[in-house]
């Protein structure tokens, strides 16, 4: 496969999962698919990073899980956002905006005349 795909920036996976689940409850594979789609296939989510992340987030109380039947009649574990998860998403989103703004600022900076 042609790989313009990149690994996720460290620490952003959880934020993206939260965002995905904020749209609707979803199973693991669906979350991975949706992130790939929403990022126009720029980001690749491997199961090796997704499932441990889901366990960690569940431990922190951001998401809950329950077994449900998919439209294809298969049992799958669906994850849903909790209130704490929503708050976490807001917090991460704000932090991300600050950080990305700062990074963009640095990247678009030019050397001011007279500066050494």
């Amino acid at each position: 496969m042609a790989d313009a795909r990149t690994e996720l920036v460290q620490g952003t996976l959880e934020m993206l999962v939260l965002k995905t689940l904020a749209l609707e409850p979803m199973h693991g594979w669906g979350i991975a698919q949706r992130i790939e789609l929403m990022s126009n296939r720029v980001f690749m989510v491997t199961q090796g990073s997704l499932y441990p992340a889901l366990v960690r987030m569940r431990r922190r109380g951001w998401i809950t899980s329950s077994w449900r039947v998919t439209e294809n009649n298969r049992r799958a574990r669906y994850y849903a956002l909790t209130a704490a998860g929503e708050r976490q998403l807001d917090a991460e989103r704000a932090a991300w905006r600050r950080a990305s703004g700062a990074v963009n600022g640095i990247l678009s900076a030019r050397l001011a005349p007279g500066a050494t």
Binding site: W29, T46, Q47, R59, R74, R75, R77, A84
Partner: protein
């Protein structure tokens, strides 16, 4: 929330681990199926689909591991595996593990129980406000090192009037242990009464809960009574109308003026049921200056330290000595009440505290050496595991877990031992040791001993593991024990450990030996009376029905009735049993003989009032003259029998028979001489004068303790004697019947308590020391088994090697004994107040202890040496 939900999720993961695993499998399979489905739909070739599946599969196991990690249960999982593994390992070689656990349990249990006893009886304050201000006052002769005599009423009144250092000074009647009968109708009930002066409760700052305490104007035997809470509940059903009501004691009505609070414990007589005003009128009569019968307590003013109060007391005594020139005891000493209450036990308990420290130290050293033994035995296992790639942290963690498993097992067993020891101590000291009822395991102390021993177990459990992981596994696998035995420095540390162990063991063993000898001497002491075949009991004759004539007749009559019972050799009575303490010490002066008119002719003599055939009943032979008999009745001239010591002091160099003496306000003719008997359980003798009850019954209602000499076991006669008494007077109670040995034992119960505790404790310490010594020397020999193999292989005789090992073991042991001896000599002075009729550096005890330690040391060195040399050298060298 997060911490708890996190912890909850982790715990749930452990509990539901199987389910979690199953669900994880299913979830991942679903993921892979969806992945494959997508690939197929995208039209991937079967090959590519398979390859992708393989990659995915490879990833699955890693993902599973990572998911497991993410659950946060990995450390716990591993730990549980370690614990299970440790238990299996410990069970495979249970001997060392068992010894470590027993060492910890005995150490922790023993020390905590002893610590708590010390804490409850010595360290905890008295249950009164500002207990530091409370003192006890004793009188004595000038120049006496440790005066512990009671106070005369004349002196007490003078102190109370003249001393300004005291907020309050109060007295109780020392000899009030006969009690009183309450209830006029039917069978009387016996209660304990204490007579006290005004200000007694103010001194203790514990006023009655209702009513008031006695006023100075009641100090003339006024018929007032203060009830204990218990008596108020029992007799008056806790009714407030009890105040002002009447209580009949010994047929005489008393008015209730106060009721004590329920939590009050009397410092002088913990079981007191009622208080009556102490009659202080005898104190106005200067002739009572030498009648010592008061127990005096006081509360110092807050600004007055004890030494200043003592200085004022000394000054007052100088002028009192001038005013009463013939007084014999013109010195007095103040002691802190707390020190006085725990009394002789306090020194012993301090000593116990020191011994507790030594034993804890010994436990730590023992555990250390035992764990070193274990580690050396397992060096190969560790080297092998390190060589096979086990991580150091993993090995260390496993050793840590093993040490903890050992330590926790020891701690748990220690708790059990401590609880058992505590209930044993309480049972042993019940009734004889003040404030023991408040005894409970002290959590702080328990934590302390558990912490210190656990820490040492963990520390010394890890040390060998640390050394093992630092050692090149190749060396260890080759059997280079040197690598594990460590450098010369390590050897020196180990030798020091063993020497310290021997020294500690020696000190503890000498201490135990001295106590055992003391105990034995105390037990086998000749008290001058026959304690084994005598039954004693009290009979109280109520004043209302018995006047002095009736009392005199009764005691003679009941003695002769009992004497005629089968199995009885003789029966009589006495005002204070031998060997149960000083009582009624009166100034006695000779009226005839060489000492008449001389200064210091006045002898402080113990006075005893006897009835019936007392001397035969108590097993005291009459040396000269005769015993009292029917000729010595109320109307006849007063006659006395003197003890050998009294005869020597009053009538030196002459025949005492027929001499005359003056005491108690009367003149007496000496008609007999008897040997001295011990006045206390320590074998001390005092000049003693005996009077016939029949001649002295008019003086007061003497509390006469009956004593019956029996041919068989004394207890068996109790029902028969009870019937005999009932035939004479059905209303009388045979009070507290027991053997004379028990009655004397009760007087020494506190000392016995201390000794038994110390001896048990020392025995435990010695056991621990022997275990430790054995472990340490066995370890040293084990480390050298390879060297022995080499020596034997090149032709050394087994015997030579064994002797070598033995010699080296003995060198360490002797060095330890030497150091222990020096250490013991340093605190022999502390011991000297505790031991009885044995010098602290008694050679036989020292030699005995050294011999036992040497034998243990020799065995401890020889047995492993024998085992090491018994095997074929080839086996060792392979």
């Amino acid at each position: 929330m997060s911490i708890f939900s996190d912890l909850g999720a982790r715990l749930a993961s452990i509990v539901w681990r199987r389910r979690e695993e199953r669900e994880m499998e299913e979830e991942l399979r679903f993921h892979m199926d969806m992945e494959a489905e997508q690939a197929r739909r995208a039209g991937a070739s079967p090959d590519a689909a398979r390859r992708r599946g393989m990659i995915a599969l490879g990833g699955v196991e890693r993902t599973k591991e990572e998911v497991r990690d993410a659950r946060g249960t990995r450390v716990l999982d591993d730990t549980m595996r370690d614990v299970a593994f440790s238990v299996r390992t410990l069970l495979r070689a249970p001997a060392v593990a068992l010894v470590v656990i027993v060492t910890l349990a005995l150490g922790i249990g023993g020390t905590t129980a002893i610590f708590s006893t010390v804490d409850a009886t010595l360290v905890k304050p008295l249950p009164y406000q500002e207990p530091g201000q409370l003192v006890r006052l004793y009188e004595g002769s000038p120049g006496e090192a440790n005066p512990h005599g009671f106070v005369s009423p004349t002196m007490f009144l003078a102190y109370r009037e003249r001393l300004s250092s005291f907020e309050h000074l109060a007295a109780g009647y020392t000899y009030d242990d006969r009690g009183a009968d309450i209830g006029a109708d039917g069978r009387p009930e016996r209660i304990h009464v204490l007579s006290i002066t005004a200000g007694y409760f103010a001194t203790l700052r514990r006023p009655p809960a209702m009513g008031r305490e006695f006023e100075p104007n009641e100090e003339n035997g006024a018929p007032s009574v203060i009830l204990s809470h218990q008596l108020w509940v029992d007799r008056f059903h806790a009714s407030p109308t009890a105040l002002g009501a009447e209580l009949v004691m010994d047929g005489r009505p008393y008015t209730v003026v106060g009721i004590m609070p329920g939590a009050f414990v009397d410092p002088l007589r913990p079981g007191a049921d009622a208080y009556t005003p102490l009659d202080m009128t005898p104190g106005l009569d200067p002739s009572n200056i030498d009648n010592h019968y008061l127990t005096v307590i006081g509360r110092l003013r807050p600004e007055t330290p004890l030494p200043r109060a003592q200085a004022e007391l000394d000054a007052v005594l100088v002028s009192l000595g001038r005013e009463y020139a013939d007084a014999r005891r013109t010195a007095a000493r103040l002691y802190s009440l707390k020190e006085d209450m725990v009394g002789p036990a306090s020194r012993a308990l301090e000593l116990v505290l020191g011994a507790v420290g030594l034993v804890l130290l010994l436990v730590c050293v023992n555990v250390a050496t035992l764990l070193l033994v274990r580690a050396s035995a397992r060096a190969h296992e560790f080297a092998l595991r390190a060589a096979l790639g086990a991580r150091r942290s993993r090995l260390l963690r496993q050793m840590l877990v093993e040490s903890l498993v050992l330590a926790l097992a020891g701690d748990a067993l220690g708790l059990v031992v401590a609880r058992a020891a505590m209930s044993g101590i309480v049972r042993l000291g019940a009734g004889s040791v003040p404030r023991l009822s408040a005894l409970s395991l002290d959590p702080t102390l328990l934590l302390f001993s558990v912490a210190i021993t656990t820490a040492s177990a963990v520390l010394f459990g890890l040390t060998p593991a640390l050394r093992a992981v630092r050692t090149d596994p190749i060396d260890a696998l080759r059997g280079e024990d040197r690598a594990l035995a460590g450098s010369r420095g390590h050897n020196r540390v180990r030798s020091a450990l063993v020497t310290a162990q021997v020294a500690l063991a020696f000190v503890l063993m000498v201490g135990a030996g001295l106590l055992l000898v003391s105990f034995h001497r105390l037990r086998s002491l000749d008290l001058g009376v026959d304690t084994d075949h005598a039954l004693v009991f009290e009979l109280h004759l109520p004043d209302a029905r018995y006047d002095s004539t009736a009392r005199a007749a009764f005691y003679e009559d009941i003695a002769s009735r009992i004497a005629h019972l089968p199995g009885v050799r003789a029966a009589g009575g006495v005002s204070k049993l031998p060997a149960t303490g000083e009582y009624h010490e009166w100034g006695t002066v000779p009226v005839t003989g060489p000492n008449v008119g001389r200064t210091h002719a006045n002898v402080g003599a113990q006075q005893r009032i006897v009835s019936g055939d007392y001397f035969r009943a108590a097993g005291i032979p009459v040396l000269e003259g005769r015993a009292f008999d029917a000729r010595d009745a109320a109307g006849t001239p007063k006659r006395a029998i003197v003890s050998t010591l009294a005869a020597e002091k009053l009538f030196p160099g002459v025949d005492p028979i027929g001499q005359r003496l003056r005491t108690g306000g009367f003149e007496w003719e000496v008609i007999g001489v008897v040997p001295d008997v011990s006045v206390n359980a320590e074998g001390d003798r005092e000049p003693t004068i005996y009077h016939a009850h029949a001649q002295f019954a008019g003086d007061r209602n003497w509390a006469i303790t009956q004593i019956v000499s029996t041919s068989g076991p004394p207890q068996r006669l109790i029902p028969l004697i009870q019937r005999t008494i009932a035939e004479r007077d059905p209303q009388l109670v045979m009070y507290r019947p027991m053997s004379l040995a028990d009655a004397i034992g009760a007087g020494t119960a506190q000392r016995k308590f201390t000794l038994v505790i110390l001896v048990c404790f020392a025995a435990v310490a010695v056991l621990l020391a022997a275990l430790g010594l054995f472990g340490a020397l066995a370890y040293a020999v084990k480390l050298r088994s390879r060297e022995f193999g080499v020596r034997m292989a090149i032709g050394a005789e087994r015997g030579t090697i064994r002797r070598l090992v033995l010699r080296q073991g003995l060198v360490v042991t002797v060095a330890g004994i030497g150091i222990g001896l020096v250490g013991f000599a340093a605190f022999a002075r502390v011991m000297s107040s505790l031991v009885f009729r044995v010098r602290p550096l008694d050679p036989s005890v020292l030699i005995g202890a050294a011999a036992i330690i040497l034998v243990v040391g020799a065995f401890a060195a020889y047995l492993p040496a024998r085992r090491a040399t018994a095997v074929d050298p080839r086996t060792i060298l392979q």
